[in-house]
């Protein structure tokens, strides 16, 4: 299994002939089977961080490695869940989930077995032959998560996966993700601007500054989560009522708010 490592990563974009620094010396390690969330104001480059692990973009300086190997391009060892789902509209639920396994050359029997597992994991039974446009946003994102999980990837990259969902669906999906992560732990990098989501889901939360994005602080939620037995609560609202949860949520909120006020001219 794999760890993600950002080593002095800087990313600049050329805009109208002017260089603009999007990310400045990012150092971050996501340990094997650790769930790390990155939160930050919009435009801080948190998605760019994730995209560099996915291999869609590359650092201007520094290194991004997964399992000690430099990322050179996208691949099925690093499955991505996109905010806008990015399902293939002309493929059924089954065929969307099947594509990655077909690419790997997984034999048909094993493939079908694993697809069935993924469908069960994401409670998609009965929708195998549906097309994405026939499904609600929440269901589409379940398919996208199933498509990622079925690959049994070393690393799971989630780019604001619940950002396009309505509040109700979002909560359900967050609970589901906790359930799945408990059953089937992965190395996860999770990007969001929702603080509660980050605290609820992650072992550690990396807080980023405004552009140019730097890592401001990293908060270890895991110890509290274990000590306070968050995982014994089925429902997100029960966790959110806990003193320990509120403490970290407020802490991160303040941290982000300082960012906004502190940098305004």
């Amino acid at each position: 299994m794999a760890a993600i490592s950002f080593d002095a990563v800087t990313k600049t974009f050329g805009r109208n002939g002017r260089e603009s620094v999007a990310l400045e010396r990012i150092d971050l390690v996501v340990a094997d089977r650790e769930f790390v969330a990155i939160v930050g104001p919009s435009g801080c480059g948190k998605t760019t961080c994730l995209r560099m692990v996915a291999g869609f973009e590359f650092p201007s300086a520094g290194w991004v490695t997964v399992d000690q190997r430099r990322v050179t391009g996208p691949g099925p060892d690093r499955a991505v869940v996109f905010q806008q789902f990015a399902l293939f509209p002309w493929k059924t639920v089954h065929d969307n989930i099947a594509l990655g396994l077909r690419n790997k050359g997984v034999p048909r029997d094993e493939r079908e077995r694993r697809i069935a597992e993924a469908i069960e994991l994401m409670s998609l039974q009965g929708y195998e032959t549906a097309f994405p446009h026939q499904l609600s946003g929440g269901m589409q994102q379940r398919v996208a998560i199933a498509r990622a999980y079925v690959l049994d990837p070393d690393v799971l990259l989630m780019d604001e996966p619940f950002g396009a969902l309505d509040a109700q669906t979002r909560i359900t999906m967050q609970e589901e993700l906790v359930r799945i992560a408990r059953r089937n732990p992965r190395t996860v990098l999770f990007v969001t601007h929702a603080v509660e989501e980050a605290v609820y889901l992650a072992d550690r939360v990396a807080v980023m500054t405004r552009r140019p994005g730097r890592i401001k602080e990293i908060i270890d939620v895991r110890a509290v989560r274990v000590a306070e037995k968050w995982d014994t609560h089925e429902r997100i609202e029960d966790v959110m009522d806990l003193e320990s949860f509120i403490h970290w949520r407020t802490h991160i909120w303040r941290s982000l708010r300082e960012e906004k006020i502190g940098r305004e001219p």
Binding site: A54, L99, F131
Partner: protein, 260 residues
Amino acid sequence: MTARLTRAETVLYGVAGLAAFLGVWSALSLSGAVPHQFLPAPHEVAARFVQLATTPFAGATLGAHLASSALRFAYGFLLGAAIGIPLGLLMGWFRVLDEIVSPAFDALRFIAPIAWVPFAALWFGTGIGGPIMIIFAGAFPPCLINAYRGARHVSRPLIEAAEMLGTGHLRIIVEVLLPASTASIVAGLRVAAGLGWQSLIGAELIVASTGVGFMMVQAQLNISTTTVMSAMVAIGMVGFLIDVALRGLEAAVRRRGLVA
């Protein structure tokens, strides 16, 4: 745009427009405003049309001439699609191929298909190859351009999704670019069919020994304006039918939700 019309209104206005067209035509022809040998009246053309359907002219009935034209069209059109669509998709995916093909293609595509007639005649004589080549020259560019544009406009996240799933080049082209470009490709096929069919008649005016274009040349030699007009009507009708068929395909594509 102004307000929508009901279906009945649409039909009514369509019929009215057609009637007005035929009315003006009849009036011009029957009143003697235009000399009769220059412009036959609609009813004479209609009568000749019916006659040509059963009586051979220039060696075959109108139907047989049309069939031979349609066959050439089918070959040229399918050849244009069979080469243009895959090549367009490949160019949309492989930058290098795009850079290699585009300059030559852009230089050639503004040459009207008819301009190839001398070479078509030289290379293929009066055989079927010449007309096919002319139709191909008309049908190929829209097929290529639309497949290429379709492939280039596939949404970035879909391509990224395919790549992160480890999809190879060929499979991305066949299972992502092609379905995502279907609407654009079908629109290209419609343009290609129109250009191809128009080019065919021009080509047959010169190189063929059967076909509607050939028939028109023979009619011209016989100064039979009603025969020429009948052939024109037939060309228009078949062209319209081809377009209806492709519009049907377009609608089917939309219904199946294949539009990204």
